[in-house]
Symmetry: C2
Subunit: 400 residues, 2 copies
């Protein structure tokens, strides 16, 4: 039998999805599984955006412009301006989700063998896109004790080589929930300026910053042509299934190169572009309700976690994720045990073991990511489960 390519064989499987069979088995046994493992918001997709799709008369659902509908890109200029990001429609390319924006950035800026530095823990799918592009991910480690703030500049400097072409950040961060400050962004700016590197910035969770507004890499003044913004409406408007994102850069040569990849795949999803464009007509206070919901959940979740003996959870400033350190031998085994061998009041909880978010082997073994995309009542029940589970888990260890 013909086998997959080397790259197909070495492509990492999703670390979040590998526990799914155990969750399915638990459900078959009648157990209610609280899903804190994936970033699928439970928030309603704004009905006005879905209505726009329904109410747009379509006779021939034709290819759109490869960069997306101009009317949508022109409206996005205003959206970005409201977020202190000055761009033109010609800097914006609509993509099939944030995923495709990441692929275009990797393909247009990086060659096989090039290195990209990413603070770890990081969104695991970056590994997959790196494999597609033949690029090597070089991690710099952020520490849970420091709430996952940006690693020190000398940690970056220590791993920069002649092959380093870019630094990638996710801000607000998935999986840590950390929101990088303007000062931290400026440190990255200096590094990129001195070493002539691209700065890729994944800002999928821009609106979900619970302190100061998130400072965008696109606001950096000294490296306007080195920044690539990778964006998506998935979390912003609870429209993950739409698959609409954006690739944004002021670097014309990079934009033109990315356009060739965009032309090869012809156009981004057409129906969902209508949804994305309509989302820009939502009232300015649209984000108040989901943001308040996430904030309330965060406060509940983090308080419950830190009240459990041996558990440490830094307070995340944004997105809808929290990372927690648990008093367990191995979070992968613990998360599996939660689904396979544990229940409390006929319930259990599904978490994402953090090892998959680290590139350095052995790191994150006691950490898990929790996505607060369920309501407070469910979070309370999930935390009740976790508290009991940590008392019962045979692999419990004490944390100093």
């Amino acid at each position: 039998m013909l086998k997959p390519s080397h790259r197909g064989a070495h492509m990492p499987a999703s670390p979040i999805r590998k526990l799914v069979p155990f969750a399915d088995e638990a459900k078959k046994r009648g157990i209610n599984v609280h899903h804190l493992n994936i970033g699928q918001p439970d928030i309603e997709t704004p009905p006005a955006t879905l209505d726009a799709v329904k109410n747009t008369p379509i006779s021939v659902l034709a290819y759109s412009h490869s960069a997306g509908n101009l009317s949508y890109r022109e409206k996005l200029v205003h959206y970005y301006a409201k977020n202190n990001i000055a761009v033109e429609a010609g800097n914006i390319m609509i993509t099939a989700g944030g995923s495709e924006a990441i692929v275009f950035a990797f393909m247009a800026c990086l060659d096989p063998g090039d290195e990209i530095i990413i603070p770890e823990p990081f969104y695991a799918n970056y590994n997959g896109f790196a494999v597609m592009a033949g690029v090597t991910v070089i991690p710099v480690t952020a520490s849970i004790e420091k709430a996952f703030e940006l690693p020190a500049v000398d940690q970056f400097e220590a791993v920069i080589t002649s092959k380093t072409k870019a630094i990638l950040i996710c801000n607000p961060n998935n999986p840590t929930g950390y929101v990088y400050s303007r000062e931290e962004l400026e440190k990255l700016e200096d590094i990129c300026l001195r070493h002539n590197l691209f700065l890729f910035s994944d800002e999928a969770y821009r609106e979900f910053s619970y302190g100061a507004p998130c400072y965008s890499a696109m606001q950096l003044k000294k490296i306007p042509e080195q920044v690539i913004l990778m964006d998506t409406i998935s979390k912003r408007y609870a429209a993950c299934g739409a698959r609409i994102g954006a690739f944004v850069t002021r670097n014309k040569a990079i934009f033109d190169a990315a356009m060739k990849f965009a032309q090869a795949r012809l156009s981004p999803p057409g129906l969902a572009q209508i949804l994305g464009e309509a989302a820009l007509d939502l009232p300015d206070n649209y984000f108040d309700a989901p943001k308040a919901a996430y904030l309330s959940r965060r406060d509940l979740l983090v308080a419950r976690l830190n009240a459990m003996p041996g558990v440490f959870c830094p307070n995340p400033g944004g997105a809808f994720y929290a990372m927690a350190k648990l008093p367990v031998d191995d979070a992968d085994l613990f998360c599996q045990w939660l689904l396979e061998s544990f229940s409390f009041n006929n319930q259990t909880v599904m978490l994402a073991p953090a090892s998959g978010f680290y590139a350095t082997p052995g790191l994150g073994k006691q950490e898990v990511r929790l996505a607060y995309v369920i309501n407070n009542e469910d979070i309370t029940q999930a935390m009740d489960c976790l508290e009991v589970a940590l008392q019962q888990y045979p692999g419990r260890i004490s944390i100093q």
Copy 2:
């Protein structure tokens, strides 16, 4: 300024789109441009498929399964069975257009440096996907004099090396309109069997075969685990903008490898999956009308072309393309001249120069591709223009 990657710089631009600025200029001058250059059908997208999107209640537009909705894949099993292709839902992965199915096939089966053989002229975007995957396209040349039938087996054998991993065909063919016979498919089967190669089959135009039904590579009995079907609803249901395709294979290891790429990008477009699934409920006679329209246009177009002095156009058996050899010095220059310097009754015609469909430099210099995706009245006017243009074009040469 930071520059694009090598791969970004070497990514080929779309040969079909490079004349667009000249067409835009012509339109600004008030000239009516007949578009025979791109494969965007003018046929209406079936209203029932758009209605299905409108009538599906959606509260949260969530990620679908990374392989696409199971209900859709299960229905596709029946669709394929009707087309003599026996597969299970577990063999089918829904993709963002046929384009993504091609990317998954290249990524999951081929490594950088590998070679893939494609009969030329071929769909130009295969070049782009090859650049993304770091794969080298090796052409074998089909001849317009032989109506672009499959090149002889020894032409394939002559270019097979230790690096050859796959043969790619498009059947019915874009850009030639040729429909490969069962016998030709079996020749490919033998080559793939002897040399242990994948056979990638792009069957986007399956229903538009004007003679015998198109014989699918998936029907080949000796190489069930070597065939990858790359499919799309774009042309089938005149839904190019939906961006829904499929990656289909019975090779479980390849399917599993492709799934990892699919999981990295999370899910295919959600709204358009509803449209794709609804299309499978169209009555069996749905294709009668578009097929009759295309056939009538083909007959008109080919007759008009062959009636022009010095023009040769083999009769295409499928898809909605024809390739014609023109009595001109250089089809690229001629197509540009048509837009820049010519008009007849305030009209002109936009064609796709064939050079972009050949990988061998210098081939196709007198050939153009014509997409018969406009109605017969417009085709007549377009052919009137072309006939006059060929008389007036300063670079006209005589063809023996």
